[in-house]
Subunit: 457 residues, 2 copies
Amino acid sequence: MAGNANTSRHEKAEAWEKVKGMPKAMMEKVMNICVMTKEIAQDDPRKVIHSLKVGLSISLVSLFYFYQPLYENFGLSAMWAVMTVVVVFEFTVGATLGKGLNRTLATLTAGALGVGAHYLASLAGETAEPILIGFFVFLQAAIVSFIRFFPKMKARYDYGLLIFILTFSLISVSGFRDDEVLEMAHKRLSTIVIGGTACVMISIFVCPVWAGEELHYSIALNLDNLAHSLQEFINKHLKASEEGDSNKDNKSFMEGYKSVLNSKSSEDSLANFARWEPGHGKFKFRHPWDQYLKIGALSRQCAYRIEALINGHLNSPHIQGSSEIVGTIEEACIEMSVESSKALKELGLSIKNMMRLPSSNNHISESKAASKRLKALLQSSLKEQDTDLLSLIPAGTAASLLIDIVDCIQEIADSVNNLAALADFEDGDKSPKPPSSQSQALHCECAEPVPKIDSIV
Amino acid sequence: MAGNANTSRHEKAEAWEKVKGMPKAMMEKVMNICVMTKEIAQDDPRKVIHSLKVGLSISLVSLFYFYQPLYENFGLSAMWAVMTVVVVFEFTVGATLGKGLNRTLATLTAGALGVGAHYLASLAGETAEPILIGFFVFLQAAIVSFIRFFPKMKARYDYGLLIFILTFSLISVSGFRDDEVLEMAHKRLSTIVIGGTACVMISIFVCPVWAGEELHYSIALNLDNLAHSLQEFINKHLKASEEGDSNKDNKSFMEGYKSVLNSKSSEDSLANFARWEPGHGKFKFRHPWDQYLKIGALSRQCAYRIEALINGHLNSPHIQGSSEIVGTIEEACIEMSVESSKALKELGLSIKNMMRLPSSNNHISESKAASKRLKALLQSSLKEQDTDLLSLIPAGTAASLLIDIVDCIQEIADSVNNLAALADFEDGDKSPKPPSSQSQALHCECAEPVPKIDSIV
């Protein structure tokens, strides 16, 4: 009994603790939300502006209800204008325009066909009418739903096809009860046009966010991220072997290339939105957006190799290769990655500023020269050296991955040149710097004793 | 003059050719569409069934209009049921359920708040009412639009938040003109519930497509694809060196691992949908879907390395390494990849059949043993060999990438074991085969003269 009483007292005390703790837990949650809100707002203030724009345009369209003369014209159909604004307003201009146009065109064609179906069915007599309408609705819904699976249609017209099914069904079915089907279709179309126009106007003229610009800068940023990862790889790598301590904060510099690995879907959708956008700023109407996707795909190829390079070096136990030949291979590797990283940075800058920068070619040819030297070095005989193979493999692997990366960067450079030709980049007026001055400095740093490497095997 | 006449005749002839060609071009386009339709339908007949299901449920909901007693209850509000079906019906049960629940709950809460806002505003007097309503609408639209940027909310509740803005705006604004705002909210809610229920029922009971099942099989398929790529890499590789002809149809076997590279976004969305689904078949309600995402991420890691392995070997000029040591390294590589490929295949099969297969562990330990042998081999001195380093690097690179791949597969196996524990996989009753019998056969095959390798450098 005493035990029972004890446990029940204990339970009560626990429950009381929980109740006392609840406001604290709540407060913590609220604080977390506040912190997150602040972070998102600071990270990209355009998101706050977008939210205000949405509020503004819905309030604006609500005027249809509040202002008597407007209300007399449209009546309850004004609802469609509010709905259109809520559904169509997206973060970027391209997405808003695409959805608005899809919605308007789909409503137009489906409305016309719906009215047609209604008349056709009404000719068939009272009994057959609902059956015929039901059949039409079934048929179009099934066919259009299937068309939504076509990859090309899905990418650009998915929303339009959805609205097509919606409008056709609504118009032809409501027509059965409401004989003013033509007027209904007309009202639906005009309110949708008004709502869509309001969205598009506000989205274009109040602090616009262009999908094309987003794509442009994200591709440039990706190249910069890759450059940064390569640079950091070398930095940490040298530091690690100097300080004898390697695995501590190696993880932090991975983020750069990691964001590139999974960039495909967001790039694809941005390119799709960008195609709807009119010319803006430095971008013409038919800006070569496809070329950006090609550069994006090549960047991912490069990121896969950097992944193999970095993860291979970080995840494996250490075997210090310390023979002279390993040192020499590594020296060449470091030069290759420094030059590659610079080339990537320049290519990113070239896209960002829409300017041809001949210096990137210099860096690429420097890194190619380094890779040639490396090959020559490797061809020299090994016989006179006292080398065990195991210490050689990591350096060799890094070398061949870097050679792949250099090839990849050459392809990226070709694509960027293509883009420069297609989009008329300006000529960069910077005189090309003497390419090897900086790399020379780093070169000297590394030519000292022997930079040790964390090994793969 | 004669020249002019000639060119104009020529132009006419060209134009005529074009006109004559038009039906042909049209026919070709139509044929293309037919072929594509057939391909999509054959590739996944569930897509055809889905289209028919959509048609069926819209026709079913249209009965509200056609059947007098039903129409008397709801009147024109029946429109919302049709709309709900069109908008909510998705390919998988999870997506349909998620959208349906989102739409219903959002309509419920936003409807209640909208009615509240309407009454609050109507208390303020006639002049202040539209201003107050406008302010409320602006405020909620801006706040909820911002909440849509929160990553977690975006992933699961994006559609609900959109419908929240929509319903709140519609109810509170229409309330200004239509005093039966409570009835309106009630009708909207009940028609949406009816439409949503119809969708969910048809989606669950007529040939259901479960997002969870899709995720389950796609993860298993990905592992199988990786296994296939590794296997093909070895096959083509040996064949190529035997037939002396390598670059011809190397591209075909790449597709396997390539589909894994960009699988993240589809896996993420499938997992999000799967969380909405009730228990079905072998999957309980709280099946550990997150664990699948972990396995998916590790598969991509593995795919990145296979990419580096395959592309490095295919894209570079040939330097045949023909010394004995290269041959021995390659032999170990081949054994490692054969065993790795088998392990991946078994892991895929284990997930597919929800069964623990101990044989995969055998294959992993075999491949680990091979990698140990390789390391020992490499540690033996090189001095007595006549090797030039350049011919050694490609084999070495492949070796170290394969060692990485083996590590990666070990991690995948751990994750699969975790999944097996969490989801109560059955014990596979197959007695584990003697693990080295098959690999021995392949072993002997390759221990012959020297399997040559297309090199990286």
